[in-house]
């Protein structure tokens, strides 16, 4: 039971969650995941979990990404900001293997990798919550959460009982309690519930990098806070997280680093202390900022 094991680790930060876990029947005290110590690189800094260099992607005449560099260090939350159409979702899809970039390199744990399909990304340990959620409306919550990675018995037959239990545990630890039945088709869920299911689907796997493309856009106050807490727990467990949000409150609440895309170019990328709200807005809307929060420019 990979998923629930993982969820119990996630829940380990919150004492109340431990009670909940034991009540839902997940056995054993959550072991803490060994903190992944990032390796020092030649420059004396740390080698990020995922490093993009010179990534470009175009659709016909539209240059969606141009020579983008991006570092996603383990144990940190990187917020990706940018105006509508800046290329945030395209960058997400490049990393997730949906739109492999035309040029540029990706380094995973210091090693050059080619992510050509969603399966490649999943094998490396990259999970993505897409902006459009990518759920099949005709399938129920459990079926969606395990889509493409069904648990089987005998190599062919679906192990529904196992999947349902794991899905229920994950949803419970995310406090998704408003759904009427875990077996209802996703088409019958509200926008916020759908988003919660998509988030649950991504964090159920033992991943190393979680990308959230506007995960809180349709969520209520309590669920938004849930996602923020979840993001913090993911990072505390040594995962790299990339979160895309138009809500700067969200960004400043959880991010350790900020990267700003402007018309497909990476115009700023630094630790959060280098930014304040005003210059993030400047970068997003004009691609540059005359003022700087702490005198540093990316």
């Amino acid at each position: 039971m990979l998923g629930s094991e993982w969820m119990s680790r996630l829940a380990s930060n919150d004492p109340k969650d431990e009670v909940m876990e034991s009540m839902t029947g997940t056995v054993g005290l959550p072991e803490s995941r060994p903190q992944e110590k990032a390796r020092p690189d030649s420059a004396g800094g740390t080698e990020p979990l995922l490093k993009l260099r010179g990534v470009s992607k175009h659709f016909g005449a539209v240059q969606a990404l141009y020579m983008v560099d991006l570092d996603l260090p383990a144990g940190q939350v990187t917020a990706l900001c940018g105006d509508n159409g800046a290329g945030k979702s395209v960058l997400t899809k490049c990393i997730a293997g949906i739109h492999p970039p035309e040029t540029g390199e990706m380094h995973w744990e210091g090693r050059l990798v080619h992510i050509r399909t969603p399966r490649d990304a999943a094998h490396l340990g990259i999970e993505t919550v897409y902006q459009d959620l990518a759920l099949a409306d005709n399938l129920d919550i459990v079926q969606n959460m395990f889509l493409g990675r069904e648990r089987l018995s005998g190599g062919v037959f679906l192990n529904e009982d196992d999947m349902e239990r794991a899905a229920a545990t994950t949803l419970a630890s995310l406090k998704v309690t408003t759904v009427r039945s875990i077996r209802q088709p996703v088409a019958t869920l509200s926008g916020g519930q759908r988003q919660a299911v998509a988030v649950a689907k991504a964090v159920m796997w033992n991943s190393k990098l979680v990308i959230l493309d506007e995960p809180t856009a349709a969520l209520g106050v309590a669920q938004t806070k849930m996602v923020q807490d979840l993001v913090r727990r993911l990072k505390d467990h040594g995962l790299a997280v990339m979160i895309i949000s138009h809500n700067l409150n969200d960004v400043f609440a959880v991010a350790d680093r900020i990267a700003v895309l402007y018309l497909g170019r990476m115009v700023a990328q630094d630790s959060i202390s280098a930014f304040d709200r005003q210059n993030v807005v400047d970068y997003m809307t004009t691609g540059e900022s005359s003022r700087s929060a702490s005198g540093r420019r990316a």
Partner: protein, 436 residues
């Protein structure tokens, strides 16, 4: 998260009590189940109830209009005639689930029937299993070819299978040659006896009763063990009442069919009794395709591709592979339908109206509850829709209506089914839109 927050926020307060499973997970009564069912209906999935109601209505109406409609001879005849519609509808179901269509099933079926029939002619004298195997193999290859063209060249299935419709008709004419037919009525050639006997001969009445008991016991035990096991471990399961109801309904339907088949249906002194082999054969196909679609990873991926191909792709599913396999299974099943057609006719001829059969296949699947828009449908829908079409054709024939009226009636039923399909889909979609 602090306790004061939990107290001020109702959503959190509920959770804090303990992450208990939602009430539906432990639905105990038929009433609760009914409410969950209503949720499904609102999402555009009304289940099989409407078509079962339609079937009962059709049967009752025809038996009032013509008392001879319900005599054993005619009812068994009705099953036999419907078998081809049922199997072709199950075939078409595979591609309808993907939101595609296969217009070639009628003539692919004809190819299947023709190859099987030709191979048991004196010139070849193949054993039945070789003839049937070769026919099904060729049909599967045809399906794989069409599926590969559709996915690799990214052509609409409508057009590719329309090309198939013409080509396979041409191939049928080539195969059957100048005589235009391959008879199956020799009782000296084993292969012909076997193929003709699928529809033409019947099982022993006593053995049929024993078979029924065995099937109902196995089915009941599997269903009961599964549902009660899931109930015990707190998973979503139908209430006890529903499980019992399902088992009873299956037993009742099985009893009725066996009882009818075991009544003498001859018009002479020599009694004709027993169940035509085609009935258990159709049930086996129904079970196989139901298990494939609802219990295996492949079936799950079919529904996913039909519901949201992009989501399926992002989940790492090979969408083209799912599509090619579906077209292959569609043609394979169609080939079986063609063999049943040849068996029923006692020959394979070039007179088969493949164009009409494909329309009946789509109609039967849709009448049964399969969506034309993909993502929703079951093998059972083919069975129910096929029976409705068979009953309409048979009943109107008995009332002396000519083919033209049968066509018009079937057309109206199809129109009603498609309307229901589109309306339920529209309400489901608009529901999502208001949320988003």
């Amino acid at each position: 998260m602090t306790d004061s927050q939990a107290a001020s926020d109702p959503t959190l307060a509920v959770t804090a009590a303990a992450a208990e499973l939602p009430p539906e997970l432990e639905a105990q009564s038929l009433g609760q189940y009914f409410r969950a069912w209503l949720v499904r209906v609102r999402s555009g999935d009304a289940g099989v109830l409407p078509v079962v109601a339609a079937l009962v209505l059709v049967l009752v109406a025809f038996s009032f209009l013509n008392p001879r409609f319900l005599i054993p001879y005619n009812l068994v005849n009705l099953f036999e005639q419907s078998a081809v519609f049922i199997v072709l509808a199950m075939a078409e179901g595979f591609v309808l689930l993907l939101g595609e269509i296969d217009l070639s099933v009628g003539y692919v079926a004809a190819i299947g029937g023709a190859v099987a029939a030709i191979l048991v002619q004196p010139a070849y004298n193949c054993p039945w299993w070789l003839a049937v195997g070769a026919a099904l193999g060729l049909c599967a290859a045809i399906g794989a070819l069409q599926g590969t063209i559709i996915t690799q060249l990214r052509l609409p299935s409508f057009v590719v299978t329309l090309a198939g419709y013409l080509s396979w008709y041409g191939l049928l004419l080539l195969f059957l040659g100048n005589s235009g037919q391959a008879p199956l009525n020799s009782d000296r050639i084993d292969g012909q006896v076997f193929i003709h006997g699928i529809v033409g001969s019947s099982s022993d009445p006593t053995m049929t009763w024993i078979g029924l008991v065995v099937v109902v016991v196995i089915f009941g035990a599997v269903l009961w063990l599964r549902d009660s096991g899931r109930r015990r471990s707190g998973l979503v399961a139908p209430p006890v009442g529903l499980t019992v109801l399902k088992i009873l309904l299956i037993a009742l339907a099985g009893f009725a069919v066996v009882y009818i088949c075991n009544m003498d249906r001859s018009f002479s002194a020599n009694p004709v009794v027993g169940m035509p082999w085609v009935i258990p054969l159709v049930i086996v196909v129904l079970l196989m395709w139901t298990v494939l679609l609802e219990q295996t990873w492949y079936g799950r991926h079919v529904y996913a591709v039909g519901g949201n191909p992009e989501a399926a792709r992002r989940a790492g599913i090979s969408v083209s592979r799912v599509r090619i396999i579906a077209f292959t299974l569609c043609s394979l099943t169609a080939g079986l339908g063609g063999i049943l057609y040849a068996s029923w006719l006692g020959a394979m001829t070039t007179n088969i109206n493949g164009g009409q059969y494909v329309l009946y296949a789509v109609a039967a699947a849709v009448i049964g509850g399969t969506s034309l828009f993909g993502g929703r449908g079951r093998a059972l829908h083919g069975l129910l829709g096929g029976l409705v079409i068979g009953a309409i054709n048979n009943g109107m024939f008995m009332l002396g209506f000519q083919l033209q009226w049968q066509l018009i009636a079937t057309g109206l039923v199809l129109l009603a089914a498609v309307t229901i399909d589109a309306l339920s889909r529209r309400s489901a979609t608009s529901g999502v839109l208001t949320h988003a």
